[in-house]
Structure formats: structure tokens, C-alpha cells
Symmetry: C2
Subunit: 336 residues, 2 copies
Amino acid sequence: MLSDRVRMDAYYNSIFRNKSHFLDKVVLDVGTGSGILAIWSAQAGAKKVYAVEATKMTDHARELVRANNLEGIVEVIEGSIEDVILPEKVDVIISEWMGYFLLRESMFDSVICARDRWLKPTGVMYPSHARMWLAPIRSGLGDHKMSDYEGSMDDWQYFVKNTKNHYGVDMSILTKPFSEEQKKYYLQTSLWNNLHPNQVIGTPAVVKEIDCLTVTVEEILVVTANVSSSIIKEETRLCGFSGWFDVHFRGSKENPAEEEIELTTEPSEENGTHWGQQVFLIHPPTHVCSGDDLNINFAMSRSKENHRLMEVDLGCEVKQSSGKLLQSFKHKFFIE
Amino acid sequence: MLSDRVRMDAYYNSIFRNKSHFLDKVVLDVGTGSGILAIWSAQAGAKKVYAVEATKMTDHARELVRANNLEGIVEVIEGSIEDVILPEKVDVIISEWMGYFLLRESMFDSVICARDRWLKPTGVMYPSHARMWLAPIRSGLGDHKMSDYEGSMDDWQYFVKNTKNHYGVDMSILTKPFSEEQKKYYLQTSLWNNLHPNQVIGTPAVVKEIDCLTVTVEEILVVTANVSSSIIKEETRLCGFSGWFDVHFRGSKENPAEEEIELTTEPSEENGTHWGQQVFLIHPPTHVCSGDDLNINFAMSRSKENHRLMEVDLGCEVKQSSGKLLQSFKHKFFIE
């Protein structure tokens, strides 16, 4: 968290420009890490802050709380939020829970659990809202990845031939599983990238909106959306799609923020974040023109092997403005 | 295993130049992976090969056995060697169990367990012997690592200042633990490297000899040695130490190999392996001359947090040939 300026500024401003949400209030920081959000909450006037953290980072958090003279206010608790017992309900839950493309890591589950157990009915969530975005992009990465994949398969073929000739073992039966493994790795695994805004070639679409005060775990297990995007570049290559998120600090309906703060991870020349964007490349790229419409079917679910990782099904129809279908494809991706 | 030619050749030759060890014999391959050693054993004439593997690689191994028409001879068994029950004792245990600097990964424990449970009293081990080597080296890596460490600390100091000024939080209390963490990462973690033989500046010394037929797990939990090395380069910098290993395929005393095969991971211009060498850098380097003697105290034990990783204590006295003590130092390293 600490070395990402965009992230630091967003949380800092959300707290210090909305001090009334913290003044004399009880705050719970879920996954406090080094303790920075808990410390800011206390500095903004909270009367008590519970800073819960599952890892040994609590040692550092405690030192930091002491060094900043907040021992009386911030209580660092080592334990999982699902198990921890607090002596009281809280007015604010603050947390920096967002993973790549918002939901990777599935840490939001713990925040929802904390909310259901410990937030007063009048309480507010920091952040209060979140959105997932998807947009068509152009990128040279796809060509590189395809060439990496082809190189890897060339090496394999050489190896199979060599193993047969030198060592008398026929490995060709493994060519298919090897190829599938390499395809998954090189072509189907989403990439981290801080894209230039110029690389976004169509209107971005929201694929999920979350109200952090009311959403349930069931509602984020699977994210599905059918959205449209219009190509906005004259003539270009559709090389894939990019996913990012934003969150907002709006307080609650009854208790709105004095100043609403936004934290966005959209492609940006100046304000890149450590989250970057997730890039889903299609192979081969396809030619598109200004005015073409994309009809996108998006579905994201958790990996069965590891619920912190994600699988994405992405279908797309490319239509001319006349309505003529130019192309359609469907790809599976893995957010690893 | 498969793409390391030195490794492949050593195992291949150890089997096919010692066919009498395999002809009509029962073989156990511990951690068979893709099954290649089991297949070779069968091709060399074994009447039965048990190929045990704990991971899902067994699927590939079974396919490979079938594709090479050895279904009747090689039996692939998925399970941990500690739990598996074989229907009979075996004449040969073959395994490619060696990790970085021989013992990292601690996979040899499983081979010892297999030997004690399943090897006939007359049985042989493939490989039969192993040695760990240590030698003084020169290397430019140390300067890079020191500069990386210093860069990281500069970034931290900037960050601490910035966090105080912009965000009102004093993080300086964490400078010491941060610095220790960075020191461990940049300066105390051993590095993988395929050294050029020219970089070895003193006579290599054996720090451990293992007879695979008789060694116990207790005897490899901690490796200690007090060894000497003479500097063999005119004037140079002692930048650290390099550790590597070799193994030999000698059969047993009663049943020696027809042709003894060696697999070495020593620094080599032509025959580098995927194991490379482990490099332990000292900071700062020290000036040494031809004829200087190093008295080296070496101790390696398993990490308490993860028994597959290692901790190394390395003490060294540098003496002139006259016996005059030039320098002495002691460093702790981590093989991660």
C-alpha cells in the first residue's frame, strides 16, 4: 500500500476531508498491515480504532502505533477477522482489500464478514462503492506472447526428437498436454500492465457495481455481464480487453461524505497504480474501425483449485454500425 | 530433469553402461516425475519397476510408459514414498533427488526412507555417493547486490521523509527491521550462478561425503566442516564462496558398477547444469594473494520455518603462508 501514491492519497483524503465520519467514532481497520489506515483514522479524531491483521505484520503495526503516540487509541489485534471478538460494534469499517481487477485474492469476503458481524446499522464503509470496468484495447503484447508460445513449442519439438534419438524414449504423447499447458501460460493468462490511455480503443463498460454496505459474498462469487462498447479509433487492431476497477468513498445514504473521493486504476499517463490493469489478449488480433460495435459477454468466477484466483470467459461479437456481424469469438482466461 | 543434458547423460550412462545392475532386477524410482528413469530402467532389462510420485505428474508418467510399450513392466504409483506399500523388496533404488547445493529441498529424506523400507540387503543405490564442495571465488555480483541494497535503503529513507511530510505518520521506527529484511534479501541470500571456472580462486574443499547406502537422516540434518583452501590466483579479490555437489554411480562394494559414472555441478565452461552453484557473497570483498591460506568453518542446517530451506554459517580466517592472520570474518546466509 505504502509506496503507491495514488492509493495513499485517495485513502488519506477520504479520511481527512471527511473527519466528521471519524471524530469520536469507533473504527475497524480490516487487514491493517503496517497500520497506516488505523493511524490516520486515529489522527482524524477516532476515539477507538481496532486494527486487525492476520499476519505477523502486527509487530510492525504495534511499533508504528507506539512511535506515533496512538497507543491509547489504536488497538492492534493479531488474528483472522472471521474469529476476532471485539468488545463493541463500530461506526466505520475501513479497509484496503482490493486485488487485481478488484476481486482477485477474494479478500473482500473478509470485509463483508467484518461488516455483518461488527458494523452498527448506522455505520459507513470506507470505501463505500466499487466498480469493475472492461474496455477493448490495442497492444503489442499479444505478438510477443504468441512468439514466446511458438518458441516454447519449437523447443519442445526439438526436445522430443532429441530424447527419441539420444535417449530412446518417445515423448510425443506428451505434446498435447504440454501445448495446452503452454497455451494457458502464454496465451490465456491475463497480464498485468499499466496501459497508456491511447491503447483503449473503445468506450469502457461497467461489468459490476458493488455497494459495499449491502453486497453479499454470493453476489461476488460470479460476475456476469453483457455489455456494449463502441470502437472510437479510426482504424486499429482489437488485440484484447483490459479490466480495471475504481472505488468511491461516499459514506452512506444517511451519512454522506462531505467530499466524495475516487480511487481509480484506469489507464493513465500520470497516475498509474501498483494494481495496473489486467489485460486479456485475443489471438489473433482482429481489424476494427471507428463506429464498430462490440457486444461483450463477460463471466468471471473463482478458480476451483484456489479460490483467490479467477477464471474469465470472454465472448465478443464485432458488428459494423449497419448491424452486419463481422466476427465473433469466445476465449477463456485465467487471472493467476 | 529433462532439459538438462549433463544430468540426462549421467543417469542414462549410469543405467545403460551398467545393465547387469538392472537385468531381471526389481527397481524402485523415487519421485519419478515424468517417469524417464523408470522407463530407462525397464529398457535396460529390469523385470519390474515401481515408479512412485507424489504429484499429479503420474498422469503424464503413465501415458509415457504406455507410449513406450512398458505397461507390463513399469508400474506408476501415485502417493508419498513414506506411505506407499510395495508387494516386494527391490534390488535397485534410483532417484534424482538432488536440490541446489545437494540438500536444499530435503528430498533425500524420502530416498533414505525408501531405502530403509524397501531395499534388499544386497541392493544398490543410484546414485551411490554424493559430495558437497566449497571454494573461494571472485565475482562482480557482490558489488551489484550491495548497490541494490543501498538503493533500496535510499528509497526507504525518501519514503519515510515523504510519509512524515505528506501523510503525518512517522515510520522511522521501522527503519531497522526494514534494513534487516533488505540485508537478508540482498546480501545474505545465496545466489544461483553458473560460474566460470576462472572465478574459482582457491582449491575446492569437500565439506560433506555421503554414502547413500548407509547415511541416516540425522547425519544430514546439520552439515559441519572445518576445511582449508589455498588461494591459487596471483592477486585477486575474495568475494565469497561457492558451493556445489557431485554424485557418483558406483554400485555397491559387493556389486560394483562396471563403469563408474560421475555427475558434477562444479563450475564449467561447457557443462553447466540447471543446479548451477550456490554463491555466498561476503561484503566487502577482501584482497588475497597466491599462497594465502583460508581456514573455513562451515555449518549448514535446515531453516526452522521451512525444513526444505537452509541456513549457512560461514566463518573464515585468511592467513599468509607465513602463518600471519590477515583477516577473519563470520557471516550468516540463507539458501532460499
